[in-house]
């Protein structure tokens, strides 16, 4: 039985990718005009001028094509103060997010206002565009807005057609393992493989789950498993890809430990890839003990034991 209760393990999980955005004819034109220090809107079927322009009319859903140049000054319709800016926001000092209706526009644009303090912000205040000195294409070519009484800075336009922008997305999670998985991971740090048995169906899960996926009951009965088993099935990964941690080619195999009822994916080395077989007996090859942590990576790979292959019938129900 599991008797000790300890804190679940957590570790950072950072996910990031530089997505691209094809802008299409309307937003592409908007972004291109920003490079010329002009702001374009588009006129809708009801006569309203939408800024930023929209591709399709919100009323009729028809494509919109009548572009209208609007002013680079406008009026704040509402705002919210940001005392501690986050990474990636337009300004790295306190600023206001504001909805700004540019002169000649009928809809408001969301952008930052560099006002210095919330006391300087007010609904109805007049602001103007501050152009960035380092254009990237897109709405970021407006560095921010500033009150009309701020000293004007001269920035030269850098005309260039814009058809695509890069949109980096970064997510920073704290990934937490379940209490059961944490116990299994702490076992790995001691070179042990700890699973749990479902009290209803008797299946042994490694890693253990908080509940049996079939019966929905907690799996509390701990089972220590040997570091040997059988390859149920596998593939040979020959293809390189972004974020890959093992250099191809490598054999990714489902390893069913002796006494377990579910296989997990791991690496098979110690023989040529073409010699790996369904039913091949393998054993864990552990990394040096001093490098162990709370991870399945403590097992560097599985290698053939040289024993006779397991008969197909013995693992057929695990495919």
């Amino acid at each position: 039985m599991v008797t000790s209760i300890s804190e679940p393990l957590s570790a950072p999980l950072d996910v990031g990718f530089d997505y691209t955005r094809s802008l299409g004819p309307v937003l592409g034109r908007f972004a291109t005009e920003l490079r010329e220090h002009r702001v374009l809107g588009v006129r809708g079927s009801d006569g309203r001028v939408h800024v930023p322009p929209v591709e399709y009319d919100p009323v009729t859903a028809q494509p919109l094509t009548e572009f209208v140049q609007v002013g680079t000054e406008g009026t704040v319709t509402t705002w919210s103060w940001i005392p501690e800016p986050l990474a990636g926001q337009p300004l790295q000092r306190p600023f206001a997010w504001a909805l700004i209706k540019l002169d000649g526009a009928d809809t408001a644009l969301l952008h930052a206002v560099d006002a210095g303090s919330p006391q300087a912000m007010a609904i109805g205040m007049r602001v103007r565009v501050r152009w960035t000195a380092e254009p990237v294409g897109g709405i970021r070519d407006i560095e921010c807005f500033e009150p009309l009484d701020a000293p004007e800075r001269a920035v030269a336009a850098t005309p260039e057609p814009v058809t695509m922008i890069t949109s980096p997305v970064h997510l920073r999670y704290l990934h937490s393992a379940s209490p059961e998985e944490s116990r299994y991971l702490r076992g790995l740090a001691e070179g042990r493989l700890l699973g749990q048995r479902c009290p209803a169906c008797g299946k042994v899960y490694v890693p253990p789950r908080p509940a049996c996926p079939t019966d929905g009951v907690p799996t509390e009965d701990e089972v220590e498993l040997p570091d040997r088993g059988v390859v149920t099935t596998f593939c040979v990964v020959n293809v390189p890809f972004l974020g890959q941690r093992i250099k191809p080619p490598y054999v990714a195999a489902y390893v069913l430990l002796d006494g377990a009822d579910i296989a997990f994916l791991h690496l098979v080395l110690g023989c040529a890839a073409e010699e790996v077989r369904m039913g091949m007996r393998v054993r864990a090859v552990w990394r040096p003990r001093e490098s162990w942590g709370t991870t399945l990576e403590n097992i560097d790979h599985f290698a053939p034991t040289g024993e006779p292959d397991a008969p197909y019938e013995s693992f057929a129900q695990h495919l």
Partner: protein, 387 residues
Amino acid sequence: MAKQLAAVIGTGQTHHTAKRQDVSMAGLCREAIDRAMADAGVDWPEIDAVVLGKAPDLFEGVMMPELFLADALGATGKPLLRVHTAGSVGGSTGNVAASLVQSGVHRTVLAVAFEKQSESNAMWALSILPPFSMPVGAGAGGYFAPHVRSYIRRSGAPEHIGAVVAAKDRRNGARNPYAHLKQPDITVESVRSSPMLWDPIRYDETCPSSDGAAAVVIADESVASGRPAAWIHATAMRTEPTTFAGRDQVNPQAGRDAAAALWREAGITDPLSEVDVAEIYVPFSWFEPMWLENLGFSELGQGWKLTEAGETALGGRLPVNPSGGVLSSNPIGASGLLRFAEAAMQVMGRAGEHQVDGARIALGHAYGGGSQYFSLWVVGAERPGAR
């Protein structure tokens, strides 16, 4: 409780390709929508609700695209739903739209699904490694290749069957003006000599990465009567967890259950005899025989014999993927709806060069996740029960 009759009255899709950098996501969707609405002969005031399908958010890095796309989808002032079932999402989108009509809630519903793979990297998105785990995952191909090996072992299928499927689907794609890959000269031999990516899956047995969209207009009997229509005879969806002890990854229970429910509702007792054409979600070639068995078109372990005998080619007993299938075009979010739309086009007699002669009953199929989600429909040239 009896369902209201519903029918597909129009279909539309983009010319699928690796990079559609001339259009935004909105513009991409609208190409498919405009074609579907023109095909159906309906205008925006007649659309009561819109259903959008899109693969997982990380594939394009857009949270809730349905919100920023509302104008482009003509959804202002109308119900707009997003469906989210991984790779099967296009099929589920069609089924959800159908249910809105079958329930009597709406008369005419627009279903649209899209993917712009050029703006992202699906292989990266599918291989994100959580802490504490072993970094052996390798995208969708790496996930499915071991299960393909299991199928080959279990069925005793000869090694060339996958190549037969790939060559057939790519040649079919060459007949489809909208297909991404058009390879009229591909052969079983050339597929077998292409590089091995995730052994046992070769390069030519793998779906491409595509930008594209698909749309269908589904209407009730009062709207559909007197128009060209693909009548919806049955729909089914089933789900199961990714992993559990004893899970059959080759022949998942959820797929078998979905098929059984589908055939029962459609009144079909012998699918191989009664279905004229099938659009089956085959992103890796070997999934044709695997799903033929899972769907009940053959006995277990025998699906590859239909493939080998040419029965799934155009002119065969059950042409599978006359459109070229996922192996010829794969805008992931749209791929399921493309299967469903092609099934409708076939029974409406609108499939052009890839038309199956005399198609009256057609299957559309999609699966997603780790073979966890299954969405199917059967459409017919006639109202259900008229056969």
